[in-house]
């Protein structure tokens, strides 16, 4: 197996804009990356597009708009973790030796068709994401004594981080009081506990180690991949609300492949679609024992969501996983500027889809 390097990345500003097409948005991030000239356009073997867009042969369109004639052009989607699903596919193309490089671009518009899930009738009246966020939150509070204040602390931290990220949707710091007093939507979730769908794009360039050798100064390697799908039905996922869960299984696979443990992780991007999801992530990823996630917010040994997470950056579905990978790559290669976490060697990306119906964990490291 060829080792795979994240050789470059670029992210467009995440924003509320809804006039441009998903291709215009995708081209922003793709063009930014190509301007760095790590590779010429002719050296790009595959263009993978990650999006919930309903456009046809969209990867071929994106390739054309970027002026690339790749060998392989394909679009991948799996809702909120489309981005890391695309990374897994790109990794396979390179690790197997079929390709030397893959440009993966994720993009979404705020009015993406991914905002509505019509298939899962088990959701019944609980059709919106906030319904499952609420169930997870109430369950965690009831079972483990997690508090609204602890959830608010997640938001405060991520918004603070986002204030240093010029690409984040929300760049204003907020206080725990502001979160607690923001509009109550359900019990216990308030407006500021929830992320926002938005418009944005992020691109990542995967390279074979050989291809990267004379082009990338501080290569960041993909060393662990874990993924687990449970069910597309909320009812089935919820029956597992305190069980092992897709996230724990995905994490276990990723640590095993990376030959490491949660203790080694220095920095992580976590799927905080709702504040409670970050608290549960601490537990599922093994940073802290089951039930202790609420308290972990107060100590937080791993630097979590340095780019601002989904709460701070917004959630352009197909782009989210790629912007997570981009941030961890920036951190590990020491290029994160004002957001730089000192001395980090191991980084983790945790990307969920629709209420935890599937989870993906990717571990990156520098040698």
């Amino acid at each position: 197996m060829h080792r795979v390097v994240v050789g470059d990345y670029a992210t467009s500003g995440f924003r509320k804009e809804d006039l441009k097409s998903v291709f215009d948005i995708a081209t922003e991030a793709g063009s930014l990356l190509l301007k760095h000239q790590i590779l010429s356009r002719g050296e790009i073997d595959a263009v993978i597009f990650s999006s919930c867009s309903s456009d046809q042969y969209s990867a071929s369109i994106l390739a054309e708009m970027l002026g690339i004639k790749p060998k392989i052009a394909l679009r991948i989607d799996n809702l909120c973790n489309s981005g890391t699903s695309a990374v897994i596919s790109g990794h396979g193309l390179i690790a197997s030796g079929l390709c030397k490089s893959a440009l993966i671009v994720g993009a979404e518009t705020r009015n993406s068709p991914g905002r509505v899930l019509s298939w899962d009738v088990t959701r019944g009246a609980f059709a919106l994401p906030i319904h499952w966020g609420t169930m997870y939150a109430r369950n965690h509070m009831r079972t483990y004594g997690t508090t609204e204040e602890q959830m608010a602390m997640v938001v405060v931290k991520n918004r603070k981080n986002a204030s240093k990220n010029p690409n984040a949707l929300y760049r204003k710091k907020i206080t725990a009081d502001e979160v607690m007093q923001s509009k109550r939507i359900t019990y216990p979730l308030k407006l500021l506990d929830c992320s926002s769908l938005c418009t944005g794009a992020s691109a990542v360039l995967l390279l074979s180690e050989t291809m990267a050798s004379d082009k990338v100064e501080n290569p960041v390697y993909v060393t662990g991949i874990g993924a687990q799908t449970n069910s597309a039905s909320l009812a089935k996922v919820m029956s597992d609300i305190n069980g092992t869960g897709t996230s724990k299984l995905a994490a276990r696979q990723a640590y095993k492949m990376a030959k490491t443990t949660p203790k080694s992780i220095d920095v992580a991007e976590l799927h905080d679609a709702f504040s409670i999801m970050e608290i549960m992530a601490y537990e599922d990823l093994g940073f802290v024992q089951r039930g202790m996630g609420g308290k972990y917010v107060e100590q937080n040994e791993v630097a979590t969501n340095p780019r601002g997470g989904i709460l701070g950056c917004g959630h352009p579905l197909g782009a989210t996983g790629l912007s997570q990978v981009a941030e961890i790559t920036a951190q590990l290669s020491g290029s994160a500027g004002r957001r730089q976490v000192k001395g980090c060697k191991y980084g983790l990306v945790y990307n969920l889809s629709a209420a935890g119906t599937s989870a993906i964990v990717v571990i990156l490291r520098v040698d």
Copy 2:
């Protein structure tokens, strides 16, 4: 790199039906395959869905409907070659060692959103597939003297093959006269020169060689993969109408990877969306010299489109590439029944997307 085996396959009846959902159709082929019990549901590492459907997280839905909880679930599309694009991705997952198995299901309904291409405004008034089919046909006739009768012979051959395929949309043999006298749609294309969009599904199970060793009797290996994307714009593709073309480049890559030449190919499924496309395929794949495709119909040393091709079987977009792989696997493993081509060892799949905007060639072989 781990060698990859096509360990199993199943195809539903291709038909005009348009009442069922794309998931019902996909589940038909997936369930058929699972009934063979090559693997248990728990042994399936990845479920890849190939379709132009605009449903969200559709691979997760399909996995649930099939009763599988795979690690990886993702949907791939690239219009008419979505199926082989999915095979390329699945191959990467297994060849790299990340997965031991991948169930790839392609499905489409006749009213698929893939039937309309709205993005490519360079098509102008030539928006329909028959417009590009016509341009290719007229160019080939003008440049190389190919005749309408030669194109009709392609249709006769493929319909004859389809008459032995219980899953084909068209199972009635026809004569060259019938083709020549069918309704003229453009000059030179008649109704029977054109394939039909239809409803259908096809599934393929990829396995690592190790996984296949005690489960598959006559393992068929994926030994060559080639792919080339040109442009999503018809105008740009057409400027290359007599040039090297995506197909020739894809074929070259595939032969190189498989360490073989066109001479070794015994059986091939070719992308005959229009009869002229099969004549051009003979040339692009190196079965015969440029310009000699029309005459090759009369000799046809390679057994072409034994399942009936797209002309005979119909074209359920996301399923087509997989049904091609399924047929070549059946042929190479000696399981093609009434359609069996004797003594074949090397097989080829050739799958195009939208007017040749991208081409994929996959070479399979038995040891």
